[in-house]
Symmetry: C4
């Protein structure tokens, strides 16, 4: 049972590590005889998109890590719920590339909305994974109902806030991106709190 959990971690870590590293492939070398600095500067939408997706995948990896520490074993439904989550993680390089290609154009609104919508689905998958863990009785006995409630609320919040970000992007794309950034603070703070209360 422990062995299984190890392999899920290894596979998930692999997917997170590859998805986070593939992001750089979307930044293309500026071609043309012009000034290189100008060409590099013109890539700012690519840097913004790269940074945003890198940070969010990193935070997801840390959260995944914390989540699996709550687990005492894995079941078949857990493997597939985890796989569904990973599907949304491996998808991230695509909306990132869409964002990079359109952020400085007239198509910025749909690009940001699509980017945020990806994370609505991702947030949904975190909820499904956690529900699978709770229903399957996979949580360690030392995980308190208060922690379960706090994780559940944070994951639920993710769906709502990303949905709001997607909708507000149609009015002003910068707001959509800023909401994304502000969510980082929520996830990181949540993790810190779990860290402080845990007596590992």
């Amino acid at each position: 049972m422990t062995e299984s959990s190890t392999r899920v971690e290894a596979f998930s870590d692999g997917v997170f590590a590859i998805a986070i590293t593939l992001l750089i492939l979307e930044i293309r070398v500026p071609r043309g005889a012009g000034n290189l600095w100008a060409g590099l500067a013109a890539l700012w939408p690519s840097y913004v998109a790269f940074l945003m997706s890198f940070i969010v995948i990193l935070i997801m990896w840390v959260n995944h890590h914390e989540l699996l520490r709550m687990v005492q074993g894995v079941t078949y439904p857990f493997l597939f719920a985890n796989g569904l989550l990973l599907l949304t993680v491996t998808f991230v390089p695509f909306p990132t590339a869409v964002l990079a290609a359109n952020l400085a154009t007239a198509q910025a609104k749909p690009a940001v909305a699509f980017y945020c919508a990806t994370f609505v689905v991702n947030a949904l998958c975190w909820n499904i994974l956690f529900a699978t863990m709770v229903r399957g009785g996979l949580l360690r006995p030392e995980v308190t109902p208060a922690t379960v409630e706090s994780v559940r609320r944070a994951y639920y919040l993710g769906i709502v806030v990303y949905l709001a970000a997607a909708l507000l992007s149609f009015i002003e794309p910068v707001i959509g991106l800023l909401i994304n950034v502000s969510l980082w603070v929520v996830w990181v703070t949540l993790g810190y709190r779990a860290d402080a209360t845990a007596d590992r």
Copy 2:
């Protein structure tokens, strides 16, 4: 011996994780000054191909995982039979890209047939791997002849059904894809059954 088995798992997990994550590279950002939503919607064959290949590689990873839990050690022929299987896994992004590029065109029939044919070869390799395990005496003593027979039949079924899917694709490509989807149910159910009967 245990150490060897660990490294085979790590290498295989790496290959599965990379192959599953590379799939996203085949979905290209829509270019052109038109409406972005229309451009994203026009990519539906890419999403279908991505989803189908992601799910099938995920299921393969879970099955590989179950299979290696039956093993008490690895031999040289096992390493190469496993490598042959991984060859067909790393190949998957190519037929996936072929499927994505042709599903909405007049070439849908050969594209789906080629996609299914890839999994005929893949199913053959699962049979070879399992035969190598059985003949090499690598199975743990607690693995019953009934389980061996059930796994063998399921793997054999894979060859037959994927072959049927490939052939039927020449008549109607949608049928070929639906057979692929229905096979997921078979693999997942098989896993569940093994899960229920195992008293780990």
Copy 3:
């Protein structure tokens, strides 16, 4: 606690391994009906860029490896400081491609300067990671203050020397690259020394 450290290592190793392997994707097959040897020879800037980035990522991986051996556990800030460092590692294929595309052109100066500037930021992140380890009390008790001071000085030196390399590239790009190469000797020697003083 140990388990957490193991997963950080696994994730970091994954990122290092993927970043180092993706470098090859930037070397494009020479196209055209001309002589293949001439085409392969004309790619020398790509080989130089590939070699330089491969070696520096390899050295970074070895150093990361040594650094984590000093640690007795990981905390939340450590995970993010490590993530920040990995961000600069996954970024490396991009300046490498910029270097390869421009080294043999009139844009060699900005290309080398940009390449070196990337490592200024990278060196900064090594400093941040080490400071996080020291302040968080994560170092094993057997790590002496002398070792801490020596690592800190080496990391600080990294910032200064890469900055000098970036600036000197504006005068003569070859000097910038040679300073990069000479830094390898510093890192490797540093590692050897730590190896010699450790009594494991």
Copy 4:
């Protein structure tokens, strides 16, 4: 010491797994309105190149695996000798793409020669790695001088045979490729022998 060895294995496995999986990215989907089967068939040089490189990297991974089982610990020079070997492994997708692009053209001779020459350098690196292990006293006491001699001779043979393959490719490229294939038999047989004599 054991921990270090584990991380070298994990990193090396990662590089082997990524290099072997990236090979598929070089096979491009046939474009154009023509018959898809004809387009897929015309890619035969890509399939040949993919197969050859997949098999040789797989064999290298198995051999690396066997080699590290002979080791009782790792040193700093070992890490760099191993890194040098990995450099030649990550390089493989490039000569593979060169081979695929030129095998069916008038440039087949230089393409095969370049492909073989890559493995001359690779074989050299295996020799360097093994020499580093022997000189550093890293071999387990149960590794007999006869085994050391047999491994050394096999690795030395690699250099000579790949060099012959590279040179003969200038006369007839098919001979060069066939020598590559025949070398697989040598490596696999060598492994089998080591397997038979080991009393794990």
